[in-house]
């Protein structure tokens, strides 16, 4: 058995605010193996984004330990071990699509020829070949988000952290991108952590669904998906899919307790 990609033990994070401490994460334990597609789902305030940010060393835990690829998140960040996709595409308007994807490569010091090659191949991967010279504002929202995923894939990181990447898109575009993302995951063998608040999205994409609940932010259930790796869109109408979706919904309800 390989080392887990992410290993969190009794992880807690408390923010100090004017209204007293907020427990964004409390005693979180989780293990993510190489090649997993893990979704984090829960209502807002449950700490799913905070958890992702701790993995990325954008926040620091106040208690407990976490390792990414066996080392601390900070070291992992310095090794450029992961790609991070934010909720908004955040492409620079003054750079072309190609230029935007090249940006992290320039920062990480890849040589010119390698840059060109990588930009070409990731653009093909996200089906944006031929758009290299276009500017972001000449593209639709879905295409922009695809470009931002390409940007996270361009360098050698086998971990992809995605924070509600499709949250701002409409459902039709979203379905299409979900399908593409699964393909991508299948062909690149990356480990993906994916934050969402859509139950169908979580069930459709994941091998493992982590259900979280707020106040304090904690994990209430971890559901291993029994769906096959190969998933056409209409798998969402199968009883198996609906069964898993039920479990997720039950987990969410249980976590809410008497709140709702």
């Amino acid at each position: 058995m390989l080392d887990p990609v992410i290993l969190a033990e009794d992880l807690s994070l408390t923010f100090q605010t004017n209204d007293g401490p907020v427990h964004a994460l409390k005693d979180v334990n989780l293990e993510i193996d190489k090649g997993d597609f893990v979704s984090f789902i829960g209502p807002s305030g449950c700490g799913k984004t905070t958890f992702l940010r701790v993995m990325a060393d954008l926040e620091q835990q106040t208690a407990g330990t976490i390792t990414v690829n066996g080392v601390t998140p900070e070291e992992a960040r310095r090794n450029r071990a992961y790609g991070y996709v934010f909720q908004a595409a955040g492409l620079y308007p003054w750079r072309t699509i190609g230029g935007n994807i090249r940006l992290p490569l320039e920062i990480m010091g890849y040589d010119k020829a390698d840059q060109e090659e990588r930009v070409k191949s990731v653009l093909e991967l996200v089906e944006l070949a031929g758009f290299e010279k276009k500017f972001p504002w000449q593209l639709s929202g879905g295409m922009q988000q695809r470009a931002s995923i390409a940007r996270a894939l361009a360098f050698d990181a086998d971990l992809l952290l995605m924070d509600e990447p499709f949250g701002a898109l409409d459902e039709i575009v979203r379905d299409h991108l979900n399908e593409q993302l699964l393909h991508l995951w299948d062909s690149t063998h990356k480990t993906i952590c994916f934050v969402t608040h859509s139950i169908p999205e979580a069930v459709y994409l994941s091998t493992k669904i982590v259900v979280m609940s707020p106040r304090p932010g904690r994990i209430t259930d971890v559901i291993e998906s029994t769906l096959p790796r190969e998933r056409p869109l209409d798998i969402r109408d199968t009883p198996e899919f609906i069964e898993i979706a039920h479990r997720v919904r039950d987990g969410l309800r249980a976590g809410h307790g008497d709140d709702v």
Partner: protein, 290 residues
């Protein structure tokens, strides 16, 4: 383009108002003259007189236009574009100290803004003073700067440029601090996930993001710089420059000269600010931020 009609209408109305006001303001002098000469003025004669006095209270546009032509176009035609009587010469004097001060003020302003954004101590110590200084009529110290610098042997272009620099400095600092801080938390986090160095973050994210703010403050700085140069020319003993022309005109009651210097200053301001606006449009369009 749809604004051209309304703008022209308003401009035409302003001109009408100007001619009308000239009749009113210059009438007493015309009537006084006529009374002493013992003649009765018809309305047409009165209007003609008020629009052509030598030292009117308010010269009309065509008088100012004629004076402007006499001191610019005609001088050029005579090959004396840079004689001391040419308004082009005086504009050049003002322009050069404006530009020198503007460039120095902009560079210093950007440098301080970078310091403020990257150093917490500078930020907390200096920023409140920069903001407060915007509310202070700093132009009032212009005469002192000129005299003090003269006393230590610095004269000519530099003292005026110092005033311009001082005036253009503050808007640039304030604008650039805002601009360099304009990248969103998400964009900065993004840089962090790539383990980008501070200088990479500066050149690739902060500086390009600050461009719209830079140009907006450059326009303000340019206008302020010109005002500084003009006011800086007031106490120098009135030798050269548009400010000197204004002061000389007001000493000798040469209203036409004042107005032509004023129009020239306005034209200079319009050209300089317009050029920055053009540069802004070109740059931002190229950067896809327009």
């Amino acid at each position: 383009m749809r604004n051209v009609g309304p703008i022209l209408t308003v401009v035409a109305a302003l001109f009408l108002l100007w001619y009308g006001a000239a009749i009113q303001l210059n009438k007493p002098w015309a009537l006084d003259k006529a009374q002493r000469a013992g003649v009765e003025l018809s309305f047409n004669e009165l209007v003609a007189d008020t629009w052509s006095q030598k030292k009117p209270k308010l010269p009309v546009p065509h008088q100012v236009g004629a004076e402007l032509w006499k001191t610019t176009g005609e001088m050029v035609a005579k090959g004396r574009a840079f004689s001391k009587r040419s308004l082009l010469y005086h504009s050049w004097v003002t322009f050069s100290s404006t530009m020198l001060g503007f460039v120095l003020g902009t560079l210093l302003g950007i440098a301080l803004a970078v310091g403020i954004v990257y150093n917490r101590t500078i930020d907390m110590s200096v920023m409140p003073w920069v903001i407060a200084s915007q509310t202070i009529p700093i132009l009032a110290i212009a005469p002192m700067i000129i005299v003090v610098l003269n006393a230590v042997g610095i004269s000519g272009l530099l003292p005026k440029a110092m005033i311009s620099m001082y005036l253009s400095f503050f808007p640039v600092v304030v604008g650039m601090v805002k601009g360099l801080r304009s990248p969103s938390g998400m964009q900065l986090d993004q840089m962090r996930t790539w383990n980008a160095s501070p200088s990479q973050t500066f050149w690739r994210l902060r500086l390009p993001s600050s461009m719209p703010y830079l140009f907006t403050s450059l326009k303000i700085a340019m206008a302020a710089s010109l005002v500084g140069a003009i006011v800086g020319e007031l106490p120098t003993g009135a030798v050269a420059g548009l400010g000197a022309r204004l002061l000389a005109g007001s000493y000798y009651g040469q209203t036409i000269q004042i107005w032509s210097a004023l129009i020239m200053a306005a034209t200079l301001a319009a050209i300089l600010v317009g050029l920055i606006g053009l540069l802004q449009r070109m740059t931002l369009r190229r950067m896809g931020m327009l």
